[in-house]
Amino acid sequence: MEDILNAIVLLSNFVIVPGLAYGAQLALGALGVTLIYAVLRFSNFAHGDLMAFGTMAVILVTWTFQSVGISAGPVPTALLALPFGILAAIGISLLFDRSVYKFYRTKKSPPVVFVIASVGVMFMLNGIVRFIIGPGDQNFSDGGRFLIKAREFKEMTGLNEGLAIKTSQGITIIVAFLVMIALFWFLQKSRTGKAMRAYSDNEDLALLSGINPDRVVLYTWIIAAALATIAGTLYGLDKSFKPFTYFQLLLPIFAAAIVGGIGNPLGAIAGGFVIAFSEVTVTYAYKKFLIYLGPEGWAPDGLVQLLSTDYKFAVSFVILVLVLLIRPTGIFKGKVI
């Protein structure tokens, strides 16, 4: 019995809790990608770098706060800085929309032109971020490190295995949950949110109904930029901030959006968790877990790890391909691109 409990705690500690946190981060990123796809109808290759830009702004403000002694007690100062980062990300998104995308929208260019333009934006954002904060790793997390420490958990329960929950993980899950609720409320209930859905569903009819496309686009960028900054900040608090890593997050984020059904917000969330849990479960070494569950004195040889962590991209990719082949519209019915 105790062995089984130990096994469960072990799995929670190394698979479930990290998977939940990572899944929430991916889901927030994928929501942004999917909204831009739904309204502006292109895959935004600059989304990873938008995340990096927003997070960078958060980091800079966090450092300022820290240097003048403002802090948020047990939670990271970065949460206080978050609104400023969101504003910065919104600002730059709108700037790029006005100066780049708007032109192609008026011209009704095909989606691939938008994608290529987003590659240009990606380069520029990438350059800006590296220019301002440099290409290296930045750690900006402060406040309490843990909500539950492994040792405390062991003392509390008397089990061999400890369950540690990092503050960043707890915050990620809570913030992501609140943001998702707010987003769904906005999309389902508010007038502007409904207008966004209408525009995404049937652009011509939306125009006939007097929905102002500029306003819809404006809100889409505002929301996508906010989601990107929140996702990036949570990821950075949980792991660390490095511009290149954020650029690379593009792949799992796209995978999440597509697996869930691109253009469908619910799908983006489901996709985020599917991708995250697949990555974590496939790259976890099950040796200890099996020792608990197996007969007394038995141990598997090797780590019992299906894939080394270096191949986590392969996991997103394989799931992506499977979904594309079996169900091209994704788990929830998205648009077929």
Binding site: V100, V112, V115, I116, G120, N126, G127, L250, Y311
Partner: protein
């Protein structure tokens, strides 16, 4: 008002000459060599994008496959490693094939639930079986003199053969990717190729038994003489004396010229073939498919198959370029592949040069590589000027100066966006109309 094509190339040449005069000829030739390779790569992408409208963002992966081809062809085999685990590695390769064959067989013969169950069982069983053979072999191989080798090595053939092999490697991977992803719409192809290139790099970085991973394989043999041998040969010292050059400096330049000659031959050959293909009935059909897929399909063209052809051909060209790149570097370093440099920069070249035009891709390859290299010193110079008013030793000034090189990413994005906006057909637009020169 556009400049005629020869004038554009002449200006490009002039830029390189100016670098030769004001910086050094060695720098100018180094840039030239990479320009040549970039042009080949851009040609490959243009075959996919310009001819067929395929949006491939996995260029890095195909270039890296070409690079690993160069490494595997040229380095000598490591006999101890082969003795330690070579057979087992080959054996596990055969096992993988056997498992695949069994799965295919099971799926052909069985039905319903049993079919799914058998598939899962075979894949899972096969996976553990392969790991049981493969893992010990890898450990044994990687234990052989890890500081110097720890991998199987290659064939020990002249590296120049590898350029073709690199192309074949890339083509093979492209065939598999194309089979999976080409039926899908453009955005999916983009994301699938983005994924596959990351996976290829991950494999090259982590399968140490094959590539030494991040420990790199350096000291690859060269297709051109070594500087040190040149300096010691009488004919070379004679030649240097006759043109009045310092033998040591001239040796470096001579070697670069040799590379440039080889690369130019490859570039011209591929350019010639690409032009032939573009103006053949095949090329016309490809463009017809690109411009109106539905109409072409209605006329009975097998669009997916044609796309697969172009995808494989274009990737092969990228693979050749990737092998050439490793050749001139003299080392294979999986850790240095970065999609911005190896995928998206090539895209900038193709778009700026002019999608669908082979000469455009060549010019784009030259110009963008030139700017990519020169933007670094230019950015630094600009920052130096801009930060003049700041006090010497101020932290801001130090930061700005040190960060200046990153501005070149910004510049590339800006160039791409400006061209896309104001000259969407690029520097040398695609030839339209029936008769093209």
């Amino acid at each position: 008002m556009k400049l005629p094509v020869p004038a554009q190339f002449a200006i490009m040449g002039l830029l390189l000459v100016l670098v030769g005069i004001f910086q050094s000829w060695s720098v100018a030739l180094a840039i030239l060599n990479l320009c040549l390779i970039s042009s080949v790569m851009a040609l490959g992408v243009n075959i996919q994008w310009g001819y067929a409208g395929l949006f491939n963002v996995g260029i890095m992966g195909f270039a890296a496959l070409g690079g690993v081809g160069a490494m595997l062809v040229s380095v000598p085999p490591v006999r101890e490693a082969w003795a330690a685990g070579g057979l087992q590695v080959i054996g596990s390769g055969l096992l993988v094939l056997a498992v695949i064959a069994a799965v295919v067989f099971a799926r052909r013969t069985l039905e319903g639930r049993t079919r799914s169950l058998a598939t899962v069982a075979l894949v899972a069983g096969g996976y553990f079986l392969v790991r049981a053979v493969f893992d010990p072999a890898v450990d044994a191989i990687e234990a052989v003199d890890p500081a110097k080798s720890g991998f199987l090595g290659g064939l020990g053939l002249p590296i120049i053969f590898s350029w073709g092999i690199g192309g074949v490697f890339a083509a093979g991977a492209a065939w598999v990717v194309g089979k999976i992803a080409l039926g899908l719409r453009s955005d999916y192809l983009a994301i699938a190729t983005l994924g596959i290139s990351e996976i290829i790099i991950a494999i090259l970085k982590n399968e140490d038994w094959l590539t030494r991973g991040v420990k790199n394989v350096s000291g690859l043999p060269r297709p051109v003489p070594l500087e040190i041998n040149l300096i010691q040969s009488p004919w070379f010292t004679d030649l240097s004396a006759r043109i009045g050059a310092d033998p040591v400096a001239f040796a470096g330049i001579f070697v670069k010229l040799c590379y440039a000659a080889l690369f130019t031959i490859v570039l011209l050959a591929i350019l010639w073939l690409s032009q032939r293909a573009l103006h053949s009935p095949w090329g016309r059909m490809m463009r017809a498919i690109r411009d109106n897929r539905d109409a072409a399909e209605a006329m009975g063209k097998d669009v997916t198959k044609r796309h697969l052809q172009t995808f494989v051909l274009g990737s092969a060209v990228v693979g050749i370029a990737g092998a050439m790149l490793v050749t001139i570097d003299g080392q294979f370093t999986p850790g240095t592949y970065n999609p911005l440099r190896y995928t998206f920069l090539i895209w900038v070249m193709v778009i700026v040069g002019g999608s669908g035009n082979n000469y455009g891709s060549v010019l784009g390859g030259f110009l963008i590589w030139f700017l990519w290299i020169q933007a670094e010193p230019a950015g630094l110079w600009l920052m130096n000027v801009l930060t003049m008013p700041l006090a010497e030793g101020s932290a801001l000034k130090a930061h700005l100066l040190q960060a200046a090189p990153h501005l070149r990413l910004f510049l590339m994005g800006l160039i791409l966006l400006l061209v896309l906006r104001f000259s969407p057909r690029g520097l040398i637009p695609e030839e339209t109309g029936r008769k093209a020169a």
